[in-house]
């Protein structure tokens, strides 16, 4: 098997990427750390519970997208966008026999992304409607 090698990109996580990853780890009450490959691609490690504090999920950003692995090197998802990774990972976790912690994490990520994707447009639409009709409603009061 040949290893997939990508051209080099920015060495750091972008603030928006990091914010998303950190909020997911924080909300799941996992600690986290960042690191990088030898070539400088950023990695985000989700750290499991005591006493081992081992890596339960590792997100790496390569030039072509994101790669998600568990703590034993199994690739559990790969996608061009962070939210697509979560969906792919959820599928893999349901199909496979990954560790309990990974499965919980993945399920949580998927639920969160689903909620954000479904409800954010509704909230935005509501705000637009409010801005549009508020003056007319105010006239009735």
């Amino acid at each position: 098997m040949s290893v997939i090698e990508f051209p080099r990109l920015a060495r750091e996580w972008r603030p928006d990427e990091l914010q998303q990853l950190v909020s997911l780890a924080d909300a799941a009450r996992f600690s986290w750390e960042t690191g990088a490959t030898e070539r400088g691609e950023p990695q985000f490690y989700v750290i499991g519970p005591a006493p081992e504090h081992g890596c339960v999920l590792c997100v790496s950003r390569l030039a072509q997208g994101y790669v998600l692995e568990d703590g034993t090197g199994h690739v559990i998802g790969e996608a061009p966008a962070l939210n697509r990774v979560a969906v792919e990972v959820a599928r893999a976790a349901i199909r496979g026999s990954r560790s309990f912690v990974s499965r919980v994490m993945v399920a949580w990520i998927t639920i969160r992304l689903t909620v954000e994707e479904r409800f954010e447009p509704i909230f935005q639409e509501s705000e637009e409607m409010l801005a549009r009709y508020a003056p007319q409603l105010a006239a009735f009061i």
């Binding site: 750390e33 960042t34 890596c55 703590g71």
Partner: protein, 101 residues
């Protein structure tokens, strides 16, 4: 290089030992003249990101692939496994190799 931002303090023992194991593995890889990509190729991995995960001290070399890692790094598998046991299972290593019967 690892840039850390912890949300909570990790137990230094397991993590510190894994980091030491990672540093040792990186040393061995460099001594063997391999890049992370080349090592991943020899191990049949799709990506080299796991090599980095292990070297940064967040992952462990799985027991079932220790022999492959050892051979790729040019180290005798028993020597390699025994060295990693020092970091991954220090109590077991002590029982097996240090405690006198």
């Amino acid at each position: 290089m690892v840039r850390s931002r912890k949300t909570e303090k990790a137990v230094p023992n397991s993590m510190e030992l894994r980091k030491r194991a990672g540093a040792w593995l990186q040393e061995q890889r460099k001594a063997a003249g391999l890049s992370q990509i080349e090592l991943a190729q020899q191990l049949g991995l799709k990506y080299y990101t796991f090599i980095s995960q292990v070297e940064n001290g967040f992952g462990r070399v799985p027991s079932d692939s220790m022999e492959a890692w050892a051979r790729a790094l040019g180290i005798a598998p028993p020597v390699f496994a025994r060295e990693l046991l020092v970091y991954y299972e220090p109590e077991l290593h002590k029982l097996l190799f240090e405690v006198k019967t």
